[in-house]
């Protein structure tokens, strides 16, 4: 499809250089001795991360911005003998409002002092993107515009006169196709020229309305006088008038001047000023406050209007569009996926296929991993025994700590490694935002955001990953709702429990020809109960606890794009899977040890585990469960995968977690030995779906909200609901059956 467009793009991008190699040397995470610091800014969905990977390779430092739950990626590359460090800023539409992403991007441009800022621009939506470009150019002169997605623009019949654009903006503009790498060499040449200050830059400043201009003209010289090294006094003046607290703070402490004069990220030894407030700075802030009162109350609206008006003027001057603006196949797909009749089945089918691939695909590797891990255990145990290590050391290390780890890894790793990439591919394709669009009406009724459908789907893979995924919900209140209720979606650690119960108990109560159907039906019913409680608690939370939290709904439907499979595989396996797995391992190891200790310390004629189980038994009976199950849930907080093995361990009096493969044997153990009934199975299914999140998820909630209050609620609210529901079900059951 892109074939006919290519020759044209090539002549456009690289007219004389058919043989030019792409001489960017990717350095990945090797960030030593960099010469230039480069920041990558741009709107969301402009191919920013594709360009990032194109420059640095797949390996990158991924972490959070200090103190913020915003992802930060860093990488290095070499070009023309110079080493560059590249920092990916969060994708934003603007730098003016108070969202965390915009704050992070703004602060880095001002205080991080990059040598060059590459602004990635979507050539098919130039007007929108220019708004951000103009804002960045207010802050820094040293910018290069990367006009990305030139192939798509060409396909849509949009011609961008990039030379004229460069003249309008006053900074270099380089057309590129980040996906194929076309034009990257030219882009880097421009970056180098700007970094080495070889090209004159005259960035465009946006014309301001009369009263704002007067105020800025009064304030900017004072900023300049106080901080001679600041490159953007006009912008600082605007921010002071707007009341930007981080800029105010930098002015008050004099940090602004220090940061501007010293090369950044060098340790602040050059910081001769101490942090004491400087009186001139305070006076400047007071001056800004006085001036603000002379401005019309809607001067912020006017500022945004001025930016967009300028963006629109430039866009109209440089764009020549022919034919229809939006390509018709995109609209047709949109009609199909949001169709009143076909939309829903399509979505369910997609979800079912994703699950099916995950379950079927994970089965074999899971088994392989388990067999491998247990073989290693056997070898380890044999080795320890030969070395004459006491039995309890061997037991603690191999049957406790190691077995807990092995269990979690073999159950958790394969499904996550399959599910996460599938999810990301659907997301990058642009399909998942349409799902959110389709389902928003449902979530709106309970005060939540349509994108919660996506974070819930993610929760089927892993609740901790689901909680992290709520970052896509920009509105604070709806994001909290999604975080606090994610646990009601059973994660892949809980599926085995549900399936086992469905097969052993529910299916057994039906005639053989219906048993498979009954088992599947009972699992689906349990999931439905979870989804039902997601909606009920979302509704309750939005009307009670979360009343006073900020909220604003908007949902972008990005254009359909071909996903970058290599990058997705790499990032979703390395970043997401390994990350979640690591947290789980850290938690599961001590739990494995604890379980072993409880099973092997004997008080009287029974193990400690059995004693505690007996103590908890009356309480468990109230909920239709028993003491062993409750104990298993208490010590298996770190990972739901080990709940059933722990229950079996307690019943059988074994010294370590065990699995019983044979369903008949399992049934004998549970029914004949432990006295389970259908009620026990139903209660356990309900409890498995509703109970408190695992410790990994609790930790993630804390990391994402940074609030003890929300973490506590996120942990205890589901537990309370699980107690309540199982109690009511058990008591009613006993009353009527």
């Amino acid at each position: 499809m892109s074939k006919p467009s290519k020759p044209h793009v090539r002549t456009l991008l690289t007219p004389e250089c058919e043989a030019c190699p792409l001489f960017v040397n990717q350095l990945g995470i090797d960030l030593s001795n960099w010469d230039y610091l480069v920041a990558l800014a741009g709107n969301p969905n402009t191919g920013k991360s594709t360009l990032f990977n194109r420059l640095t390779g797949l390996k990158q430092h991924v972490g959070n911005w200090p103190g913020k739950t915003v992802t930060r990626a860093e990488g290095g590359f070499e070009f023309n003998g110079k080493r560059y460090k590249l920092v990916d800023l969060p994708g934003t539409y603007s730098l003016l409002s108070a969202s965390v992403e915009e704050e992070v991007a703004r602060d880095f441009l001002l205080f991080g002092h990059p040598d060059v800022v590459i602004i990635v621009v979507d050539a098919t939506a130039l007007e929108r993107n220019l708004n951000l470009v103009l804002q960045v150019l207010e802050i820094t002169d040293k910018a290069v515009v990367a006009l990305n997605l030139m192939d798509e623009a060409k396909r849509k019949g949009i011609h961008v006169d990039y030379r004229r654009l460069a003249r309008e903006l006053g900074v270099p503009v380089v057309p590129i196709v980040a996906r194929t790498g076309e034009g990257i060499g030219y882009l880097m040449q421009a970056v180098e020229d700007v970094a080495a200050e070889r090209v004159p830059l005259h960035p465009r400043r946006v014309p301001l309305g009369p009263d704002l201009r007067r105020a800025v003209e009064e304030l900017a010289p004072r900023v300049q006088a106080l901080f001679p090294d600041v490159s953007a006094p006009r912008w600082v003046a605007i921010r002071l008038l707007d009341g930007d607290l981080s800029v105010e703070e930098a002015v008050r402490t004099g940090q602004l001047g220090v940061l501007a004069s010293a090369p950044v990220l060098v340790t602040p030894t050059s910081n001769t000023n101490d942090q004491a407030p400087m009186p001139e700075g305070e006076a400047l802030i007071r001056h800004a406050h006085t001036l603000r009162r002379s401005l019309a109350t809607d001067f912020r609206d006017r500022l945004v209007e001025a930016l967009y008006a300028e963006a629109s003027r430039i866009a109209q001057a440089v764009i020549r569009a022919e034919g229809s603006r939006a390509s018709s196949w995109e609209e047709r797909i949109d009609r199909l996926v949001t169709h009143p009749i076909w939309g829903l089945p399509l979505m369910l089918a997609g979800l079912a296929i994703a699950f099916w691939i995950t379950i079927v695909g994970a089965n074999y590797p899971s088994e392989l991993l388990a067999r491998f891990f247990f073989a290693v255990e056997d070898v380890g145990v044999a080795f320890f025994q030969r070395m004459g290590v006491p039995w309890w050391v061997t037991g603690f290390i191999w049957e406790g700590v190691y077995r807990g780890l092995a269990w979690v890894v073999s159950v958790m790793l394969p499904p996550m490694a399959i599910f996460f990439p599938i999810f990301t591919i659907l997301e990058d394709l642009g399909y998942l935002p349409r799902v959110a669009f389709n389902l928003d009406w449902l979530f709106k009724r309970v005060g939540a955001h349509g994108k919660q459908a996506l974070t819930m789907t993610m929760g089927f893979g892993c609740n901790a990953a689901g909680v992290i995924a709520t970052r896509i919900i920009e509105s604070p209140r709806e994001r909290l709702i999604a975080i606090l209720t994610n646990n009601f979606v059973p994660c892949n650690g809980r599926w085995p429990t549900l399936i086992m119960l469905g097969t052993v108990f529910v299916a057994a109560s039906f005639r053989p020809e219906f048993s498979a159907l009954a088992a599947a039906g009972s699992v689906v019913a349990a999931v439905m109960v979870g989804i039902f409680f997601t909606f009920v608690t979302s509704w309750l939370l939005s009307r009670t606890l979360l009343r006073g939290e900020a909220s604003a709904f908007t949902l972008e439907l990005p254009p359909y794009r071909r996903p970058d499979i290599k990058r997705i595989l790499y990032t979703s396996i390395i970043d997401r899977t390994i990350f979640v797995l690591w947290r789980a391992i850290v938690m599961a190891a001590p739990a494995g040890g604890l379980i072993w200790i409880l099973a092997n310390i004997h008080v009287g004629d029974a193990s400690l585990a059995q004693q505690i189980a007996a103590f908890l038994d009356p309480f468990g009976r109230l909920l239709g469960l028993d003491g062993a199950i409750l104990l298993a849930y208490i010590i298996a907080i770190p990972a739901n995968e080990i709940v059933v093995p722990t229950i079996i361990m307690i019943y059988s009096g074994a010294g370590a977690m065990v699995e019983v493969e044979n369903l008949a044997a399992l049934r004998t153990l549970f029914v004949d030995q432990a006295g389970w009934t259908l009620l026990t199975a139903v209660s356990l299914m309900l409890f498995a779906v509703l109970h408190n999140p695992c410790s990994t998820t609790i930790l993630t909630i804390w990391k994402e909200t940074k609030s003890l209050k929300w973490t506590t609620i996120g942990a205890l609210m589901p537990l309370g609901i699980a107690f309540l529901v199982t109690f009511v079900v058990a008591q009613t059951w006993r009353l009527f059956l």
Binding site: R164, Q316, W441, T554, L555
Partner: protein, 355 residues
Amino acid sequence: MSNVTGILLVIGLLVVLAVPSLRRLGEAYRLRRRETVEDALKVLIDLGAQRPDRVADILAGRLHLSRRAALRLIQMLNERGLVSMEGDLMRLTSLGRALGLHIVRAHRLWECYLSDDAAVPLKEVHRLAEKAEHHLSPHDVRRLEARMGYPRYDPHGDPIPQADDKTVDCPGTPLSVWPEGEPACIVHVEDEPESVFAHILAEGLTPGTQVVVLERSPQGMRVQADGNDVWLTTVMASHIHVAAAPEGLPGTGHITLADVPEGMQVQVVGISPEVRGLLRRRLLDLGFTRGAVVEPVLRSSFGRGDPTAYRVRGTLIALRREQARHIWVEPLDHTSQEEHDEQTVETARAYPVDA
């Protein structure tokens, strides 16, 4: 044996659990006393110099205290140096005044936050802010003020005192004395007493609403508000303050983005002043600014058009109906648009593309 250990365990657990909650109880009591003091300061700030027994009467009435408790409260204020006697008149000290102003600022800014960012209905913001005002430090208030963009009025039109301001003035003229037939804009609705406030809100009268007084009688008045006829008692009218309607803002009768049929291009005229705070900033940043060309392209089939996706500045953005309702639009004037296009093409030709 095991029974005894069990009971001991339970008792021990109860003690461990009870100690913090007892401490919490003590804190709650101290907090209540502090809240009462701060509420008293808020009342005193409008009073000026008064005789102490008169102050006690007013405090008793406003804070629902017994007269004895009110006198005790005054004594406490005096001991803490928040009020002082000048002759036989009592007035706030500068410390008391500063603290009182802080509480008023905290209250009104929190109301702004609740109404603008958290979308809490107007009739509930006062009650919630009455609680929150006592938990905000001066630093919190400063941050809140910056976050809300230094608003000058709270959601029902009371002025927010500046950190260094001494006076608190009330804007506008009471609607009860506004001349008939003159278009006006509501700038302030008194939020106390609650019953009157609720009645006014129930009639759909909030700050920003355009009104015209149609006729007056001794019992009340008939008012046209945003196209509807509303009957107001004199008491209600005296709780509403108005000013002359501003020029240029589209009033009633404008179509909103929610009314635009699929596939029709329109131009944004403005965003309703009712949308403030977070949502307003986001809509502006997404490009719903004056003059932007917008076209509804996709309606949710399941939510019956809620949300709807709009093409604005080259991107599809979905909005819910209650947001689209606040974006005022007008039909795109096609002839002027084409002329504009031709002009830009002309200007583009004036710059030869350099090789």
